[in-house]
């Protein structure tokens, strides 16, 4: 009877990427026609042709910028989860620590990160340190909160299983805590990776001299709408690629848990 509940039937049609691709083509066509017919000036909205041309004439420039954004995303993500996971486990396991800090973490999560940028820049200057801290921050919250939720979701009795087998703390972590929290961690990763790329681009815009965000800032300074749109589009494409990759990896790792 569960079969009835699952909307699986929907998925077995045309692959999603194809559908997306088609829609995007339609959108681009509408955009191109609109620019032409409505005589929208380059200044307001450049035609897709001129954006593509802009990118095509500077492949190296955009590649460098994209790689730099990618590097920032990954560094920030790495730092973020490297801090968030131990903190998450510590908070989930040590009750007084959780009581003291968890509400704060939840609340801090609602703080718009962008407001602390000027402070960070003053202290750390422009560049990878500042931007990766920003990215790491944005990664920290979803991952640590998910880690805590993951550990909390472990039925308490499950620890009885390993205790009667004589397991020590490390074995308990290895056989229960870690694998049980893993699905939560993975969804935390996926959520935060999507956030990370956005924050990466934005923090490059305001606190760095590399990457796609910087390219967009250049566009703003040069009053060059084409360049802004180009940077935004590439960032979007990068976001989609990273997201799909993350989703794929998550599916692979969590095969055991779902299916």
């Amino acid at each position: 009877m569960d079969e009835l509940a699952s909307p699986r039937g929907l998925r077995l049609r045309a692959p999603r990427s194809l559908v997306t691709g088609l829609w995007l083509l339609v959108l681009v066509a509408v955009w191109a026609v609109a620019v032409r017919v409505l005589k929208i000036s380059e200044f307001i909205l450049p035609s897709p042709g001129s954006v593509l041309e802009w990118i095509a004439t500077r492949p190296g420039y955009f590649l460098t910028a994209t790689l730099s954004t990618l590097r920032l995303t990954l560094v920030g993500f790495g730092v973020g989860i490297a801090v968030a996971i131990p903190v998450g486990f510590a908070l989930a396991k040590i009750r007084w620590l959780e009581r003291a800090l968890y509400p704060l973490i939840v609340f801090l999560q609602t703080m718009p990160l962008i407001t602390i940028v000027p402070v960070l820049v003053i202290w750390l200057g422009y560049g990878l340190t500042t931007t990766s801290i920003l990215v790491a921050f944005s990664v920290f919250f979803p991952v640590s909160v998910n880690t805590i939720l993951g550990v909390r979701s472990i039925p308490h009795n499950l620890f009885f299983v390993t205790r009667t087998m004589g397991a020590g703390p490390i074995q308990t972590f290895q056989y229960i805590d870690w694998p049980m929290a893993l699905p939560y961690l993975m969804s935390g990763f996926r959520i935060s990776l999507a956030v990370a790329i956005v924050v990466a681009v934005v923090s490059e815009f305001i606190a760095s001299n590399d990457g796609l965000g910087y390219v967009a800032l250049r566009g703003v300074r040069n009053r060059d709408t084409v360049q802004i749109v180009a940077a935004v589009l590439i960032a979007a494409a990068l976001g989609v690629i990273i997201n799909s990759a993350a989703q794929y990896i998550e599916q692979m790792i969590l095969k055991k848990y779902r299916e």
Binding site: P7, F107, P112, I114
Partner: protein, 267 residues
């Protein structure tokens, strides 16, 4: 990027906190502790006040500059609330429509995910170019940033409902509207609210970004203005106020959630 990924923790007696006092005391103590550390830390570590003012200094500005801060606070709050409301008003019905028609879902969902991943913050300058100055680009950016998490969660919420629940209403002879009102909508609410909570954070971020790019009022405009006058204390006061705004609005949303969804109160 669904907020539903975060499953609600299973109930276990270990997480029943005894009293509100026991619940709020520890975090409050931590906050007070860190403020004290900050206050005296700048003395102990010789942090220059013109870069990092002590809490007492910029908190003071909430008294002396309360007019300016209140004005800009309400300006930002106005844009955030309006943008958020617009986004919600469009996203939830659209989510319902998309969830209700599988073909629509199949076609649009990937596209929505695509747009969701576009870093919308850096499009702020474009919004100013397109919409001029004043409220419209700010509201637009706020709404656009808020829109997608709410839309995605509405779709998820309206799709996630157990189709067997319809058996109940059908065997009672319910009309489609009754089925929606009594089953589908309340079932979707928790997931939609999760999206709205996420959207609220985005809304504040969106508004602040738009203000950074072009606005003559609002907390971020105040931050820039203060930076121009090298008034670090006012800057911090404005930053603090922005954070408070985010928390306040999220808090209100949590309150509304509790009020609307009494069955989830003890989760």
């Amino acid at each position: 990027m669904l907020a539903t990924d975060v499953k609600s923790p299973t109930m276990s007696p270990q997480f029943h906190l005894s009293s509100p006092l026991a619940r709020f005391m520890p975090p409050v103590l931590v906050v007070i502790g860190s403020l004290i550390l900050w206050e005296f830390g700048s003395e102990w570590f010789e942090l220059p006040k013109y870069l990092l003012p002590a809490p007492s200094e910029f908190m003071n500005r909430f008294v002396t500059d309360r007019g300016v801060l209140a004005y800009n606070f309400s300006a930002t709050a106005y844009v955030v609330i309006l943008g958020f409301a617009i986004a919600t008003a469009i996203a939830i019905p659209l989510g319902l429509a998309i969830a209700s028609y599988p073909s629509l879902n199949h076609n649009l969902f990937p596209l929505i995910v695509f747009f969701e991943t576009i870093p919308k913050t850096i499009t702020a300058p474009l919004f100013v170019v397109w919409l001029g100055f004043g409220l419209s680009p700010r509201i637009a950016l706020t709404a656009v940033m808020t829109f997608f998490p709410i839309l995605l969660n509405s779709i998820a919420g309206f799709s996630a409902i157990n189709p067997r629940l319809n058996y109940i209403t059908r065997s009672m002879g319910a009309t489609p509207w009754q089925s929606f009102r009594f089953v589908r909508f309340p079932s979707a609410m928790p997931i939609i609210f999760a999206g709205m909570k996420m959207g609220m954070v985005y809304a504040v971020t969106g508004c602040v970004t738009a203000e950074f790019v072009g606005a003559n009022e609002g907390l971020a405009a105040l931050i820039l203005q203060a930076a121009d006058y090298m008034d670090v204390q006012l800057m911090f006061a404005a930053i603090f106020a922005t954070a408070m705004l985010g928390m306040l609005l999220t808090g209100i949303l949590l309150g509304v959630e509790r009020w609307l969804m009494p069955w989830r109160r003890d989760l």
